[in-house]
């Protein structure tokens, strides 16, 4: 599914966010990405759907080498990847419904299917009754759940979530985790950056720990592992 070899990333301002990453993730895996603030987790994640291009190294997703991928093809790559952004990235002038529907409209689903599927997903994240609100009218946690709904609405092969529970109370967090586990059970690959020791240590999965842009640990059924 995902294959990175010797990936480096230096941003234009000179900051080296990734410092030689070699990672292989198979279809159907559930992977946590952990590490301190500024370690490079988000940068690592952004490589996969080409929001960020590596300065050096090879990134392969779905057996496509992103290096040769033409600009025109990038949208089709992204349609197979549902992403929950750390800063949500909701469209501010669209309603909750429209935001989630957007991911289905780009793949030209019929309005009927769009309607049904969007309401289904909004129900799943507990926001069915806020479908007509715009993001500014939502609480932080509600916005985050809209982002989650949009990421999973079109049944992507891969769901990437960058701290999807950062703004959620524990109870809602567990509900979201349950959803992700269910999706994972149907064969979807899940990649999730998180700071929640509790989640990582409770729902045991593969853990990739990144520090200073390097993978310092990669364990199956790992622990969060940073002692307080």
């Amino acid at each position: 599914m995902i294959d990175m070899q010797g990936v480096y990333k230096t941003y234009p301002n000179g900051v080296t966010a990734l410092n030689g990453i070699d990672v292989k993730i198979d279809q159907g895996e559930f992977v946590y990405v952990v590490g301190p603030s500024g370690a490079g987790k988000s940068t690592f994640i952004k490589m996969i759907f080409r929001e960020v291009k590596p300065s050096k190294g090879i990134v392969r997703v779905n057996n496509m080498s992103l290096h040769n991928l033409k600009w025109k093809r990038v949208p089709y790559l992204r349609r197979n990847i549902g992403v929950v952004y750390q800063d949500f990235k909701l469209l501010p002038k669209l309603t909750v419904f429209e935001n989630v529907a957007f991911a289905l409209e780009v793949i030209e689903e019929t309005p009927k299917v769009v309607r049904k599927r969007v309401m289904e997903v909004l129900d799943l994240v507990g926001l069915k009754n806020k479908a007509r609100f715009i993001p500014d009218e939502l609480s932080g946690g509600e916005q985050q759940r809209v982002a989650i709904a949009r990421a999973i609405v079109n049944h992507p092969k891969l769901v990437i979530a960058d701290e999807p529970t950062g703004n959620l109370d524990p109870e809602t967090s567990w509900e979201i985790m349950k959803i992700l586990e269910e999706i994972n059970a149907t064969g979807t690959t899940i990649l999730m950056a998180t700071h929640s020791k509790e989640i990582v240590n409770t729902i045991k999965k593969r853990v990739i720990a990144i520090e200073d842009g390097m993978v310092v640990r990669d364990e199956h059924r790992g622990e969060y592992g940073y002692e307080i």
Binding site: K72, P75, Y85, K89, P92, K93, E105, V106, T110
Partner: protein
Amino acid sequence: MMNIEVNTAMKFRTLRRHFREGGKNIQRNGWMTIASVGAVTTTLILVGAFLALMLNLNQMADNIEEDVEIKALVEVTAEEGQVDEIKQQIETIPAVSTVEYSSKEEELNELIESMGEEGKTWEMFEQDNPLNDAFVIKTEDPIETFDVASEVEKIENIQEVNYGEEIVQKLFQFNKYARNIGLALIIGLVFTAIFLISNTIKITIMARSKEIGIMKLVGATNGFIRWPFFIEGLLLGILGSIIPIAVIVSGYYYLDANVSELINFKFVSLMPFNPFAWQLSLLILGIGAVIGVWGSVMSVRKFLKV
């Protein structure tokens, strides 16, 4: 076969979505839309007013030029038969449109009249008229005056040919300059309008560059993003044309109805309200729509590389 049909159906559905979305954006962007439409409106009023002014001035210049005529004086010695012959000869010149005979008595009367007060002094010469009989010639296109005049001059029994060489030449020259300046102004103004409108639209789209980036991250193709902007630009242009068209049609209607009272020169006559005002309206609508679409689609391009 099946596949192609399904594909077309999908595309039509999506096209409808783009139209709906483009229309909604007009509402969603509230203040931005008002500001854009305001810029289009003001600019098009300016362009429209100037186009109307320039086209009318141009027509007036045409009218004045059409008043130019050649006067061919007949030799005093010419007999009646010869005069008829001259007329025929003049008429065979291709560029000539009308030829009219004017006897020396008519010529004197005209002279006296045209001189006003001072002319009276010359009335005493009615007995002993020193003028010649003459032909008054008009050409099909005023610019042919010079050629026709020199042709006529060669005809036998023509004593001389007058068409106020200097004045006519100056007039034509002046009109040429005036037309060139007018054309330059209009072209300059239209380009300014294009720049100002697309510039305004560009800013409103720049303000949405983040949103465009998000759409791309969610998997939208460039075409998918561009379409609603295309529609939005079209609507902005059309909305922005409404007031200019209303202003120009009603203003022109008022002027057309009252111009004879307002200005009493015989050479001031406006182009007829119908069809001129409608043609101008169509032109303005066209300019608005085209610039709207163009400004919108051009501006969005910059932000699609995400």
